[in-house]
Amino acid sequence: MSVIYVLLAISLVVAIIFFIAFIVSVKQGQYDDSYTPSVRMLFEDELVKPKKTTTEEFKQEKNQLNKQV
């Protein structure tokens, strides 16, 4: 049954890794702005080839945005 020490150690290590990841991400300011990244991710590649088709999506996006603000 001494395997329980190993298991406990592993579970602890995993938990602590996630805990450290959390602290580091807070420290880097990843939680400071929780809104802009959600808009920014939709911009990708638009600059290279502006597509007309995406306009409608962005209109909706904008409407939501205006409601929030």
């Binding site: 802009t36 808009v39 502006p50 962005f58």
Partner: protein, 798 residues
Amino acid sequence: MKVTNCYHCGDSCERQLISFDEKSFCCTGCKTVYEIFSSNDLSHYYELQGAAGTTPKAIEGKYDFLDNEEIISKLTEFNDGNIQIINLYIPTIHCSSCIWILENLNKLNNHITNSQVDFPKKTIRITYKQEDFSLKDLVLLLAKIGYEPYISLEDFEGKKKVADRSLIYKLGVAGFAFGNVMFLSFPEYFDLGSSAASGGEYWLNKYQDLFRWMMFLFSLPVVFYAGWDYFVSAYKGLRAKLLNIDVPIALGILVLFLRSTFDIAFDLGSGFFDSLTGLVFFLLLGKFFQQRTYSFLSFERDYKSYFPIAITRLNTSGKEETVPVQEIVKGDRILIRNEEMIPVDGTLVYGNAQIDYSFVSGESEPVLKETGEQIFAGGKQLNGVIEMIALKSVSQSYLTQLWGNAVFKTDKANSFQNLTDSIGKRFTIAVLSIAFTATIFWLFYDPSKAMNVFTAVLIIACPCAIALASPFTLGNMLRIFGKKKFYIKNTQTIEQLAKIDTAIFDKTGTITTTQKSTAHYEGMPLTPEEESILKNTIRASNHPLSRSLYDLLKEQNIITLDEYEEHVGKGLESSKNDISMKIGSANFVGKTNTDNVLDTSIYISSNNDYKGRYVFQNQYREGLSAVFKNMSETLNLAILSGDNEGEKERLETLLPKLTPLYFNQKPETKLEFIKSLQDQGKKVLMVGDGLNDAGALAQSNVGIAISENINVFSPACDAILDATKFQQLYSYILASKKAIRIIKMSFMLSLLYNCVGLYFAVTGQLEPVIAAILMPLSSISIVIFTTIMTNFIGRKLP
């Protein structure tokens, strides 16, 4: 009539229409921005959101101070002589197009390497190479595309604020420990009676100590890091001879920890580590929930956020030099450009001063000053370049002096005992007396259990649910009010608001709108030709009064005037066929004896014969009478106005009878007035808007700033109310009263839980598992109760 809207900014192109690239624009500024964007393949900007742009303003010379190395080094976040990083506040950021264009700045200028927008804060962080490029160029580029950054004295003086994330860390630590401790106490939950003596589960007994000591280890950071603030606060409270709510909480945490450690050390039981970590986690969660801030608003503005960093001084040899405003001394000759703020009191020595004091008084009508007259700090020059001689230094000026008052240095939060703390005192006394009575009883009855009962009472009576009631109720109300455009600084303000018995209002800008949109005509009727010339004349003028009047006059065909001339600061002159008209001030049109100087009017003469005048009236906010009538039922009301008595009679008819009206009030007298009311034991609400109300807002129990546009700054205050919601003010006050009632109901509910727990504790039957169930149950039910109730209130709010 079909109205064409500007492709760039969306404003109507009624006054001026510029066609370019098959699109219409309202001014050359908008057209230029479009040209910049389209020539750089950035026209996608307009596809993201139609007409998203802002018209760029003329800024010539305004940013010359950015050439100053010292100023640059104070403003930049990082500067190694090659690369500079700066954080700029851009008030015009408002949609996804803004984010997109600002994050693609590197396409416009290859010196910019990176730019990142923080939308909620309306800031942009730009990294750029300094070589052949400067901060000034960057700011000019931004201004050119309609995103002029706002750089104020505050940025210059203020230390770089470091975001306080300690609560998130503490919450993380407590949550992490809570989860792990729960996990480790699972075996004990399922196998309650299995001690080695009674022959329980073999492996559980063997590893029992390991599990328990691990729980102990996890609880260490919770007690000594995450929960440390409670000990500090309790200690501070005790030293100030105050029994605040943190005293029983700290006592509970301490007893939980010591008793649990004692239990596992002497193998008496599993301890209460799960309850301990859970308790701290829930308490911190409450704190976190309460800590809602509106990052795009600031409640702590003083004159520094309005004032420019540097100003142009003319030295003795007549050369211009840029100096920081603090260095201005009495006798300096200063140059104020168009749209620049006057930083000190002084005498006008050159130029046509047309000064907008709206920052100071809320009065939108610019004031004309002639050479030799005094001008005051805080005004904005609207018409060309002026020169003035400083009479005082910045901090001694009429307006800025107000900030020397002690009221700006005291923190309102410290002088107010909130509802939770006031109940904390009675609660602590009750808990301690129950604990001692029960212990004394058990000492006689069964001394071995006495200590057990004493600690159990303190553990179970720990007022977790009470401490949660207020943060969750008020935190949620804060959010609800925020959705209704009533932005409150902190939860304490809601408690204060509920206690208000007197409400004082400023006049201009607070109960009146800033747009003067009603006017009536007095004098001889105008002929149709004259009306047509009048409308066409003021069409070309950018003066705010002309614009207002233009919108009020009925439609006329556009005609070409034979002559048109604008006399700056005086009026307009035009002629068509045989009619020549003068429109403007009384002197300008040749009317000498003005009967009522208190009004704002536009005088009109035709062929040098005085015809009549348009008198502008303050337009009171819609529903003003109703708001005052409702409020007067429970509150004492008064008006404190910095203006003259010109509107007295109109106000008397609008407001409930006997509402005290005070005119010609200076900023200091407003402050003193509030103070004298407070000395009489009144709880005063001040509603104002301009910097001249700042003293009164700070002195009052609750200071609400009314704002037509929340992106434009309002003075330091406790809450900002969007002007469109002015009519709802009273219902918001009532809602905060209801919120307090909810907190009181939650107190009753949590006391009920405490009674149940106390029964177990006093009778000596408190098992760790009971505590582990009761504690989260009470906390969660309080959270659910308050959330449902506050949402119910919120739904009824208009």
